[in-house]
Every structure is written in C-alpha cells, then in structure tokens.
Symmetry: none
Subunit: 401 residues, 2 copies
Amino acid sequence: MDVHDLTRSLIIKNDSKIVMLVADGLGGLPLQPGGPTELEAAATPNLDALARRGVQGLSLPVLPGISPGSGPGHLGLFGYDPLRYVIGRGSLEATGIGFELQEGDVAIRCNFCTLDKQGRIVDRRAGRIPTPESSALVHKLRDIQIDGVEVFVEPVKEHRFVVVFRGDGLGGNVRDTDPQQTGVPPLDPVASDAASAKTADVAKQFLDQARRILAGEANANFHTMRGFAAKPNLPPYEEVYGLRAAAIAVYPMYKGLARLVGMTVVGTPATLDEQIDLLAQQWQKYDFFFVHFKYTDSTGEDGNFDEKVKRTEQFDAVLPRISALNPTVILVTGDHSTPSLLRSHSWHPVPTLIVSDCCRTDSCEAFGETEAIRGGLGQFEAKHLMTLALANAGRLNKYGA
Amino acid sequence: MDVHDLTRSLIIKNDSKIVMLVADGLGGLPLQPGGPTELEAAATPNLDALARRGVQGLSLPVLPGISPGSGPGHLGLFGYDPLRYVIGRGSLEATGIGFELQEGDVAIRCNFCTLDKQGRIVDRRAGRIPTPESSALVHKLRDIQIDGVEVFVEPVKEHRFVVVFRGDGLGGNVRDTDPQQTGVPPLDPVASDAASAKTADVAKQFLDQARRILAGEANANFHTMRGFAAKPNLPPYEEVYGLRAAAIAVYPMYKGLARLVGMTVVGTPATLDEQIDLLAQQWQKYDFFFVHFKYTDSTGEDGNFDEKVKRTEQFDAVLPRISALNPTVILVTGDHSTPSLLRSHSWHPVPTLIVSDCCRTDSCEAFGETEAIRGGLGQFEAKHLMTLALANAGRLNKYGA
C-alpha cells in the first residue's frame, strides 16, 4: 500500500500544532578525526535541552550513500519518496525563482546563446550576458503569443531564464534543443512521447518568434531550451495528512518546494527572527509549520566551519520563542548534511529530533551526530518523518482492527 | 527508481581506489551467553585500529532472519538486491566450478543415476559413484553433439556434473527430470514457457544420446537433469558504478560470482598472502578490488571456534599490507555470519567497517559484533554497501538539484 493511501485513511483532525524546523545542510563532519562536527562544536543549550526531552536519530535523506539536492532532500522530509517523486529540472528552476506552477504547466530552462550568420552556435551562454541586459531581453520575449497557450517568460540570472507554457494537453517530455557543443545549429524541440507532441509544437512556435525578436542582438541573438518538465504531481498536505500547512522561508526555492506539496507560503520574512514573528502571528491559522533556515547549508558550502558553527548557534537561539508557543510536536532536522570539510551536500545521515509528550525519550544528553547514533529513532529514511510527526500529534488512527 | 538507474546517472570517475575485503562467514556467536564471538575472541589489532579511524555497523545480508547462501550473500555485498536478482541453481553450480557462463547459456545440474531393465530409477545417485569414475563418464558424454548448440559437460564431484548449452533462443525454464523418488522412470524435460521450448528439445536430444553412451555401465547407466538456469542478467560493475573491478579469490565459486557482475578475475592465488601480492601488482589497473577470504566460513561450518579465531587473526595480519597501498576506501565485511555454534550460515547481521577520510567516524574502539551495535552505520541491508563505498570515494554526483 502506498504510504499516502495509508495516511489518508487514518487521518484524525485535532487542535495539535506541529513545527518542522529545517536547518538546511545541518549534518557535518569533524575537521580532524575524533574532533567535533559543526553541530557538536556549537553551543546549543536549547537544542540540547530539547534533546533531553525528546527522541533523536539519524535520517537518511534518500538512501545510504546518496547525496541529495534541495529538491529530493525536502521531498523526503515532507514525506514523499524522493526516488518516486521526481521534480524535473525545469520545474525546479521555476520553483527556485518563486514561480507558482499550476497543474498542467510545463517549465523549461532557457539559455541565451550566440549564433553565427549560418545559424551555428558560437557561444552557448551568449558571453554570460549580465543580468540587467538579459532581463531586458526577457521582457521583449514576453511579446510572444501562441494560440491556445498562456506563455510566461521569467528572468533568472545572467544568460539563464525560464519559460512556462500553460494550457491543456501539454506533456513534459520534449528533448533539449541545446546540442551541448558549439559549431552546430540548435536542435529542434522533439517530443519523446505522444502526449508531448503539442508541447514540442508550442516550443517550436516560441523559438521561431524568439529568433525574430532577438535577431538584431549582438550576443544574445537566440536561445536554447532544456529540462522540459511538467509540474510534478504531488498529492497535497491537506489531502494526505489532513494538515493546513504553512511555509515560512526566506528563499524562493524553499517557498516553491513547499507550494508544490500544497503548503501556503506566508509572509516575506528576511531574517530568522522575522520568520519566528510570522510563526507566532499565524499560529492559530495552521496546523503545521515548515520553517526553513538556509545558512547552515550556505556556510557549509563555503567550507567555513566556524561560520557554520555560528549560524547553528543563531538557529539554536530562537528555540525558546518557538517553545513558548507550546507546540504539540517539534521536529528539528536538515534536508541533508553539508560538511564544511567537503564544501558540498553529502550523504551522511542527518541528526533529527522529535519532541512531544509521548515521543518515548532516549538517554541522549545533547543534539549531535555522535549522540544521535544511540538515539531512540535509530537510522531511518527521511520519508518516514511525517508519519512520526502525525503520530506524536495524535493525528493518526490505528491501522486495521 | 531502480538503484542502478540511480547510480548510473550519478557516476563520477576519479583516481580513487576501493578495496572490499570479504571474510566469508565473518559474523559469529559466543559459545556461552555473555562470552565473546570468534571475532571478539581473536586478537585483531589491525582491524581495531581501522575501527577507530572508520565507521562500523551491522549489515543484513538479505533481510532480518534470512540466512543466505554464498550467491545471495555476495550479490548483496556487490550491490544487487538478492531478492530481485536470483542466480538459478544450475548457474550457481557452473559458477562454483569456475565455468565462465556467457549471455544466453543455460546451465543444468546433473546426477548420474541407476536404472533397472524397465528404465525405472533404482538409485538417484548411482551409488555415489567416486569422482574419478564419474569424471571418466563425463568425458564420454563430451562426444554428444547437437545441431546448432554448443554443449559443455563438466565434472563436479561424485555423481554430480554440470551440462551447459550455448546457442540462440535458449530459455532457462525447463522442469527437472529427476522425479525425486525411485521405482519410476526419469521424467522428460518439459518447457515451462514458450521461450524454453528449444532448450527442452535440446535436453531431450542430450538425454537420448547419453542413454546410449551410458547403457553398458553397471551403476551410472543414465542421469537426471535439474535446476535448469539461464545466466542471470546482472548489469555489470563498469556500467552501473563506472568501476574497473578486479576479483582476487582462491576458490572458483567466488571468482565465478565476481565474473557474473563483470569483475575481472586476476591471477590464481593459493593463499591470502598471494592474494595481497596480486592486489599490489594490479593496483594501477583497477578502481575496485574484491578480496575473498574463505576460512572464516569453513572453520565456522566445521564448528571449530578456536580455528575460526585463528583464521580471523590470519585475516587481520595482512591488513597493514593493504593499508600501505593507501586505498581511498577500505571495506571490511562478510557475506553472512557462520557461527561455529551453529555449524552453518546464519541470519545474524555482519560486522561491517568503512574507512575513508570522510566516513564520519563513530566512537567504536574495536571491530566486532557487540561494538558494531553502537556504530555509526547502524544496521543496514548489505545491498547499500556499494553506494556507501562510492560516496566515500567521491564517485557519486548529487541526486537532483
């Protein structure tokens, strides 16, 4: 049985409140063997106090050895098997800039490129054209009209932009037009299945109009299309968990991922403190709150151990404000590890904590990678976290009689 | 998504070296409750030193409670789900005697038997005819010729031998001809599916000719056929992991299993020291080395606790020679447990160790069953070991963006 068929059939609605705190890239590594990880080096009195009340363990974002991107990392935490639910590149790019995808949308990553007089690509990135210039061209492309399809053109950065087609019968399986080399013309968009024939035709019309609009440009006189992707079909939180869910995030990517599973994105906070302000303000309106903290990841990606330690302490410092709201269940986790040592996302399992009045506390005294090894949750795939949260909130009926 | 589709899509090639040391039947049991296992009783200073640098855990060869044979035990370690990939009995028997199966081969286990004058089986094993006599008969059977099919007949032991048919369109699903009782004639080979009709016909021709060749024998005047099996279709290491893999084993069975996943079998070592000599000699030519040590299993099967302890110490003693090669990743594991107490393969999870510069060391001080319980790898299905090895070697890209 699909786990969402199971949770759907077991939903209980009550007044409980669940807060999922995601410190992006939370897990780490010691700089020297035997040393502390970033989380262990940080002074985290509030997390440690929660660890003594709660139960911890290590969550595997995807499978042992697999390092996830932000998409699969968050899908797992949200309860969706990240190997079954795949967010295509175009959808992820659109999501990342805050574009709100709707059912039936097809999103495409586009690159401005430079063609020679024979129509062959001489630069696949149009000289990495600066963002302001690129944005001006994107605005010109918004003049493109195609019968029966709504068209969106959105700037991203430098030579990159996103196109979204909205309409009926648009499949997402169309081959890239970027030939991945110079000296040859761009390819035509070709459908990989019958359901995507209309999409390929619409893309062809778009490209024909774009070629005319851009013809006079010195560098960016055309563009390629790749990563065609239909909006992923993720059953929404309200339906599979019975939760009115709010997302409180600073960065567009995480707002977008939350929207894909039916969360309501609230506010436009710029800091963690503003995120917690919003949490308090919205407390009565929602059952579940996803709060995303970015800087434990970005400092890890920078290879800055000390700064990741500081950001972890900053994260720790807001916990009393959250506890003061008296949530039924607090979850603290990360979407993956980002050890400063590796300067990248990694496969290492992520310290994860559940605090509730019925969580069956373990004997852990602090929150961290080493302590979590002997935690009561053991090691588990992240996709199971949501059912644990619902159970701790009294929101799941017994399965079977 | 299939895990091999996943690894295929994430392969990074680099100069790292991975060594997988398999001490067959490594895990054990104490003779008395509270006593040490064989591995814990052994003096293993080198394994213990690796344990302090590495991360350990307990691998489940198949699933909790399932004791595997050598085939599934090794398939799991090699990263192939042993419940999905099944090596048929005929293929395993051929592999075990070192016969190199090719795509499209069908292998069959055969038993010499004794028929009475009415053609009824009076002895299903032809009086357990001695191996030299049996081998002489096998050589006679090599005269058998069948149009359009290459035929191999190979001795095994006593009344047992193997037949392999090589040719186009040979399915592997043919019913056994051994009726599993005496007083009745052998059965005809009957195809269980349309794709195996030709195989059944070829087997019938083989049996007709064998009956004439063996007619004058006192005991072994015919033979049965069972365990028909096509070569299992295992995607090879190079393709799914991007690894040039070498197998360094003494016994044919393990060479054969390695060959089935596309490893190159190097050398003909007779001792563990010779295996390590080969490892050093082949160091530059391969990315991955599977080194198999048999005697921790065979002594366990003999119920000889003390001898298994000694063999474990012999295994430990070669580790400095391996570390001297400076491998990127060292894996130490077993394909299953073989407790002397049980004199057989068992289901108990197997102490497993990963050593690399980014393995996230745990606090274990020694290598063994009890210590592994508090290891950083937790308990995991053996099939995940290869992705962990690749991750530690920096050979897997991030999954998703």
